[in-house]
Amino acid sequence: MPLRILVGVKWVPNTQAVRIDPKTGTLIRQGVPSIVNPNDLAAVELALRLRDQHGGEVIAVSMAPPPAVKGLEMLLGMGVDYAYLFSDRVFAGADTLATSYVLAHGVKYVERERGKVDLLVFGQETIDSSTAHVPAQTASWLGWPYIYYARRVEVADGRVRVERVVEGYVEEYELPMPAVISVAARSFKPREVTLRGKLRAKTEKPIKIVSNKELGLDPRCVGLKGSPTIVAKVTYLPEVPRRKEVYRPRDARDGARWLLRKLLTDPETRDVILSALWGGSGAREG
């Protein structure tokens, strides 16, 4: 049975590229490029594998400003069939609840255009805020069952089987479809973008940009207005006081002995080391 699989993706600033100005101690955000959230690529890969196995189509969905088209083109290059970008000024400033509201209605929109959806997959969390909220919230709006941390996924007889590892257990769940699945980070190594895929993205342009006029959502339910949480203020994380003692040794042994002397005269670390070496309380009679 062919599957229609949607993948929710986020267009995020590449936080790895953010640097701190050494003079002012402030963030340098300028020139920080945006990318498709890296964990979402594992979700895309899972969707593509299921499609390759069962037939059907993979559709990327995202709520983002227009430049995110670039990211969606990259996904098309990987082999995604279509993409929908829900983009409107009124969506700006959304927290996770307002974001999932748009995404859930976006899923319904795609269903009206293309037919029933079997699976909605997400990446584990985003690099810019890492809340992992949106998959569960979207499932809640849609009324679909959901599961997090999937590392193996199989579909058979209209049901989906998910294996996950959480806190020391391997668990296997079976969910009826449609369902929402959030994929464990690094579980599916994303395939490369192909030239053919890139070409198709450029020529066929299978990306549809949908504004709120078409989606028809109450402006009070989206963006900043539709967000119960607001950012009241932002400050820098206070520095943890540290001793900052630095030693350039003559040789490795000298360095090792310096470090041990420090650790063994420091009441914070002395006992834990001596008790590991000698057993007991660490204060052996001597």
Partner: protein, 372 residues
């Protein structure tokens, strides 16, 4: 503050309720393998602080199969004023929708102003579902909480961006205010034997789960999870390859500790993701954290803020870790770690005699009652 909520300005999908009608701070306690999760007990620390500022009680919430009420006492002794217990055969297995739905129903009925959950795997999965079901705001991975005494809003403080900035999140019009915090961000409150409190059993009919648990088995031999270790030896990209971790393993085992890693080492496939420390990994609180070949990015260091001491071994004297560690040795780890292992072996075998030799000429801090 009456008149604060203007109903016609709110999303019609949300119930329009006045925040003043909501009272109490809830802590949802997670039970794993018949035991209260330590991470849930840790949430009693911020819960008490918030509750005292608001002048409202702390309520522990327990879901589980019959018999789960036996955990209520522990919650009370560690800071809860009362405990709600929902026992049902159908709650023997955890399903996010079922647990989420039951908690949301209880909250809709009893109207707490705050709900806190530990951001364990289950907590992260279930909390946003609860929030959405209630159309309430949620803030993940809080590192601190403040109470605005004028509005009685709880400010949920979290590192949102690149682990450098702290955002203060406010939920002005909706209740309950839901927040999660990662394990080890807050301490477990001390047990106070004199504390007493009311335990209330609630009658609930959980919704039938649509998902089905097919199998569940414990993973084989488990090392100490990094979030529980007293000593952690962590490796980063500077190790240059997976072999480096063998050396760190040896050092860690001499120190009674475990091995962990930075994101870069995990991304390179040198070590399993469960060992990752930092923003996208775990938060740890060892007495001693030894960072080997780790440059010290903000995203990594946010995971070791609670470490009592940080030692670094790095060949680069300009690496950011140098400014964030207590003790740094600037040297190639390939030579320094073996030298450390050798010194520790001698210390292990020769005992206090070697300790004396090592510390010759050092001023030793003597703890009261301890001998040095």
């Amino acid at each position: 503050m009456p008149g604060r909520v203007e109903c016609d300005k709110l999303c019609p999908e949300w119930p329009c309720e006045s925040p003043e009608e909501f009272k109490g701070v809830w802590v949802v306690a997670e039970i794993v393998d018949g035991e209260l999760a330590e991470a849930s007990l840790q949430m009693l620390t911020p819960a008490r602080r918030i509750a005292e500022k608001l002048g409202e009680p702390v309520t522990g919430v327990i879901l589980g199969p019959p018999g789960s009420a036996r955990h209520a006492d522990e919650l009370i002794k560690r800071g809860a004023d009362e405990v709600l217990v929902a026992e049902h055969e159908e709650l023997s297995e955890y399903y996010p929708e079922v647990y989420g739905e039951v908690i949301a129903r209880l909250a809709a009925e009893r109207r707490p102003s705050v709900i806190l959950l530990a951001a364990t795997a289950r907590g992260r999965e279930m909390a946003p579902y609860i929030a959405n079901t209630l159309r309430a705001g949620i803030t993940a991975d809080c590192t601190d909480f403040e109470v605005d005494e004028k509005t009685r809003d709880v400010l949920m403080i979290r590192p949102p961006f690149a682990a450098i900035m702290l955002a203060y999140i406010r939920t002005p019009f909706r209740r309950p205010q839901i927040g999660t915090a990662r394990p080890n961000v807050f301490p477990v409150p001390p047990r106070d034997e004199s504390r007493t409190g009311r335990v209330e059993r609630v009658v609930i009919e959980p919704p039938k789960p649509r998902a089905r648990l097919v199998s569940r088995r414990r993973l084989g031999r488990r090392e100490t999870p990094i979030e529980k270790a007293d000593v952690i030896v962590a490796g980063g990209r500077g190790l240059g390859g997976p072999e480096g971790f063998k050396m760190l393993e040896e050092l860690a085992s001499l120190l009674g500790g475990v091995v962990a890693a930075s994101r870069k080492a995990v991304d390179a496939g040198w070590i399993e993701p469960e060992r990752q420390v930092g923003l996208t990994g775990k938060t740890v609180k060892p007495r001693l954290y030894i960072a080997v070949g780790i440059s010290g990015s903000a995203q990594h260091m946010v995971g070791v803020r609670e470490a009592r001491r940080i030692a670094a071994i790095n060949i680069d004297p300009e690496a950011p870790i140098v400014e964030q560690a207590d003790y740094t040795v600037v040297w190639d780890y390939r030579e320094l770690v073996p030298a450390l292992i050798e010194e520790l072996r001698k210390l292990k075998e020769e005992g206090p005699r070697y300790l004396e030799e090592l510390l010759k000429g050092e001023v030793v801090e003597i703890k009261p009652g301890g001998e040095a």
